[in-house]
């Protein structure tokens, strides 16, 4: 436990002393801000029109602002994941610092979880920026907070899985650009898998669609905590970290 935290702190330190973390946070805040004001503007306009037509105001903030926004965030997140994980192991291998970690009295798994946890914390910090925007909704509107919280839980779970996969891919090379590109490819694949379900209803298509990380986010964005989907994400996290530990071990047997 102590060792996990030591590694995690070191990773957070290197995220935040380099421009990486600030770059990611700024880019994410800008992109999210754009989506946010778009949808809030749209919401206001539609609301205003329906009022002018003398109708009651039938739309809920949750359904028309928060839900699509959360879905957007989950997709935007896919593009940021590779940038968070690409250096985790690739850089240690390139600099030879992996020799320090591997010859210190810490277990591989502690190193892996520490690094993954740092990535999750950085991602969560990015999410915090979106939460500031949502805070305005609470100030001026009257949304329900529970679905929002569940939405965030879903975002974190989904990111946790993809970050674990990214961590694994980062152990495969000493070049972080390659690690980043490969992770991006995998994230994209896991996203578009969902599309096959649009035109194909055979079992194989269903299986592929099931593997898409995005489909499992639907329930969360609706504010529903579906155990099946939570278990799916937990399995992805587990699989990613497991592959990472296997890879670290085989790294030793091979090299």
């Amino acid at each position: 436990m102590r060792n996990i935290w030591i590694i995690c702190r070191k990773e957070l330190h290197s995220y935040f002393v380099s421009p990486v973390a600030y770059l990611l946070l700024t880019m994410f805040a800008l992109i999210f801000g754009f989506f946010y004001w778009n949808s809030v503007g749209y919401f206001n306009q539609v609301g205003l029109e329906s009022q002018m037509r003398g109708q009651a105001f039938p739309m809920s903030v949750n359904e028309y602002v928060i839900r699509p926004l959360l879905s957007n965030v989950s997709v935007i997140g896919l593009f940021f994941i590779p940038m968070i994980t690409m250096r985790l192991f690739a850089e240690e291998k390139r600099m030879g610092t992996i020799e320090l970690l591997a010859t210190s009295p810490v277990r591989d798994l502690e190193v892996i979880i520490g690094k993954w946890l740092a990535a999750v914390i950085l991602y969560a910090t990015m999410m915090l920026f979106t939460a500031i925007n949502f805070a305005f909704l609470f100030r001026y509107g009257n949304p329900d907070w529970k679905p929002l919280a569940i939405g965030y839980l879903g975002l974190l779970l989904q990111a946790g899985g993809l970050l674990a996969i990214g961590t694994f891919i980062s152990t495969l090379t000493r070049n972080q650009i390659i690690a980043g590109a490969a992770t991006f490819g995998v994230c994209l694949m896991l996203w578009v898998l969902e599309w096959v379900a649009g035109y194909e209803t055979a079992t194989w298509a269903k299986v592929l669609a099931y593997m898409s990380v995005i489909t499992h986010f639907d329930s969360f964005s609706k504010g529903v905590l579906d155990t099946k989907d939570a278990i799916f994400y937990a399995s992805v996290i587990f699989l990613g970290l497991f592959l990472t530990s296997r890879s670290m071990e085989s790294l030793r047997w091979r090299s």
Partner: protein, 334 residues
């Protein structure tokens, strides 16, 4: 302190380490000597539990590297070939991080960081970024991280590689000062380093153990007979080199006297003894009794370089006797 038995490491195609066995006693500095590609780094990586061996057993500080790697790791300090530094960290931050990794914490860690910084002469850069340090400082920070937790065993892979002569001397000095409390294995492909720093030497070549002995014994063994340089000065009259040479040749145990030069009424000679004969005392007496001054009398230690070439067989290529064709090819290659 370190026991290695039949250690073997095979990479996909190369046999990097081939049935090596040796032992290192507590408190010793041992030089691990061999040309590039001999398998030094590989052996050290196995001893530090970074790589698993293909075969064989190694025991470090009482623990088997395969059975109890965590216990071994607690008791070793390791300086890899390239110091494992994070460029974005400051020196003090880095040493604190490594100390924590090794299980230290709190004020004792802070004190220890100050202590090793002083000892390794890096206190003046303690708030500099590692990425901005010069080669000499990087190497010393590497050493500092290896000793931070005061481990009983130190494994140093080419600790002086790439340093300038002054830094090399400082580093050797530092390593020597660490002996006693620590058992040290240091690898090098530079021979004088072993002569100057180590008590014991392990020579490997192409993955095979060539020799393991104390530096002193090894020099003697390779030399067999004693060889000394002697300088004689005429006291009152002019010195006749021929006379001196004849006198020296008659000393018992002397096999050969080679005249070197005469300068300002001083002549110097190289004298070799018969096998296993000690001649220095007799030489000195002979010179003084003949009424000359004895200016200098020193053994010419065979350098490890010669020993090394002799043992690894690379010398055959240049030897006087016509070598077999195969040996010539090998000599060129290595």
């Amino acid at each position: 302190m370190i026991t290695v038995k039949g250690l073997t490491k095979r990479y996909a195609r190369t046999l990097a380490v081939d049935h090596i066995s040796f032992e290192v006693q507590k408190g010793q500095i041992v030089g691990f000597l061999g040309p590039n590609g001999a398998g030094k780094t590989t052996t050290m990586r196995i001893l530090t539990c970074f790589l698993p061996p293909t075969d064989g057993a190694s025991n470090v500080a009482g623990f088997d590297v395969l059975e109890q790697p965590l216990e071994v790791k607690k008791r070793i300090g390791y300086l890899p070939e390239t110091p494992p530094l994070y460029p974005e960290m400051e020196v003090r931050e880095y040493l604190t991080f490594v100390g924590r990794l090794k299980g230290m914490s709190g004020s004792s860690l802070a004190a220890r960081v100050g202590e090793v910084s002083e000892r390794c002469a890096i206190a003046d850069v303690s708030s500099k970024l590692l990425g901005k340090l010069s080669k000499g400082y990087r190497q010393r920070v590497g050493l500092a991280q290896a000793i931070i937790h005061n481990p009983p065993v130190l494994i140093l892979d080419e600790p002086t590689a790439g340093l300038d002569p002054k830094q090399i001397n400082e580093t050797r000095e530092l390593i020597r000062s660490l002996a006693g409390d620590h058992t040290i294995i240091l690898s090098t492909h530079i021979l004088p380093e072993v002569e100057q720093t180590c008590q014991q030497v392990i020579i490997i070549n192409k993955g095979k153990l060539v020799a393991t002995d104390s530096v002193h014994n090894l020099q003697n063994r390779a030399r067999g007979a004693e060889s000394v340089v002697i300088e004689v000065e005429g006291r009152d009259s002019a010195l006749d080199a021929k006379t001196v040479q004849h006198r020296l040749e008659t000393v018992s145990g002397v096999s050969r006297v080679v005249f070197k030069e005469t300068l300002n009424n001083r002549s110097s000679f190289e004298v070799e003894s018969l096998q296993d004969r000690s001649i220095r005392g007799d030489l000195a007496r002979a010179v003084v009794e003949s009424g000359w001054n004895l200016n200098e009398l020193r053994p010419t230690a065979m350098s490890l370089e010669e020993i090394f070439l002799q043992l690894t067989g690379a010398e055959q290529a240049g030897a006087a006797a016509p070598p077999p064709v195969e040996a010539v090819a090998q000599g060129r290659e290595s």
